[in-house]
Symmetry: C2
Subunit: 259 residues, 2 copies
Amino acid sequence: MATEFTGTGDPARSMALLWRTPGEPVSRPGPRAGLDVDRIVAAAVRLADAEGLSALSMRRVAAELGVGAMTLYTHVPGKGELVDLMLDSVLGELYPAEEAVTSGSWRDRLTTVARANWDLFLRHPWALHLATGRPPLGPHLMRKYELELRAVDGLGLSEVQMDLLVTLVTGFVRGTVGGVQERADAERVTGLGEDQWWAATEPYLAQVFDAERFPTAARVGPVAGEELQAAFAPERSFAFGLERLLDGVAALVADPARS
Amino acid sequence: MATEFTGTGDPARSMALLWRTPGEPVSRPGPRAGLDVDRIVAAAVRLADAEGLSALSMRRVAAELGVGAMTLYTHVPGKGELVDLMLDSVLGELYPAEEAVTSGSWRDRLTTVARANWDLFLRHPWALHLATGRPPLGPHLMRKYELELRAVDGLGLSEVQMDLLVTLVTGFVRGTVGGVQERADAERVTGLGEDQWWAATEPYLAQVFDAERFPTAARVGPVAGEELQAAFAPERSFAFGLERLLDGVAALVADPARS
DNA sequence: ACGATCTCCGTACCGTGTACCGGAATGCTC
DNA sequence: GAGCATTCCGGTACACGGTACGGAGATCGT
């Protein structure tokens, strides 16, 4: 699994691709293209969904499309731009019904935002491993930002507070789903199930673990391990964290001047 | 920058290395080793601190130590185990003064936890890019877990709630510092400063951005961009998020049965 | 002195992103 | 219809990655 950076390509070329700015509309010489950007992006997303970001190589994507590796470079400047396009593409899946983010109580709206991001990361785990310090400013990212801001609009918060709040909620989801996903990824990478890994590790831990040095861990660890290993554990973490977060937001909404 | 997985090696071998279980204490034949695990780990941490996780290759670490690449494999089974050792090693920097996490109000204690994790990730940004679905259960990770649990002990919370809460706070820090760090990383990877990148991108965005479709973004974006681009912006995000989180925790502490 | 055992490491294999260049297909111009 | 600029396609090659393999030399117990 590799971390890819978004926004590593030429900004002009990236923006043109993201917004699908038509090149020359007139008919030009040369053979008709048997391939286009959308098909490449779709194939890359399918591949990354199925086998993870580490399986996403130009050769693999090309093979998936039945073309040579270098053919991709006719349509996409490089892997960096492809990753940008993949991300903006899947962001288009968010909020198919806009009303869900703009109507109801602010608590419901923020829950919708969190849940939507959660689901998206579950569908496309590779998106977690993208470093979006230079986000691909494509149409779907813009729409996402707009709708999430609307979810916190009209609460008497300042513009900066609104931005901070949206970032906080989406960041929380990113962190939480990351913890969940990393366990699943580990299973695929190591080929060992969680229980097998634990069975192989626990005896050695028992040898070195000093319950007198770590009394609280000795007390909490087993209980938490038991309780949070079940299938619904991710839901538990998500729900618990979101409730705390929303309670904190409620305090802010009640008194916006507190921060 | 690559995401590395912790816990990819043989559990038995990994645990023996993490806890530095002595092998055969008697003197054996063969030349004296000119290298040991600690020196390798220290060199690897230095390298990753300075140049990022993507620069961390076995060849580079070996070169740093003035030995051949394959020499490392005499002391460490592979790169996966080396990463485990690196992480547990830097976790040892946390909480040099244990009292800070065990005394004072719970709000102060949790602030200390968050701040300590924040500082650690700033010192060792590569740690953010480790997928810890199978955490290296070394002595320093154990100590970290113990101390962070103590920070939320005695508040009337259940064991599971304690574990969830610690995970929530550290997850929040991870997410927040990630956003900050990714910007700095992007600058190094692309060689473009944030302002240069924005200057190159903004004209294209202006061409395609439709203020009527995205009115809220049009209103909030510029203000937030202005306000949160300054040097202290990371601090702002961190402080804002932590206050919301702690306010939410206060509601839980006041009424532990609510979740 | 011998043999077992250990440290060190050169070579090699496969996989990566992509620069470079040649060959084939196409549509515009004349 | 001929010529040609332009475009698509993809084979080859390079530097770099982790590490399997096996050999050379050092050092100990016997």
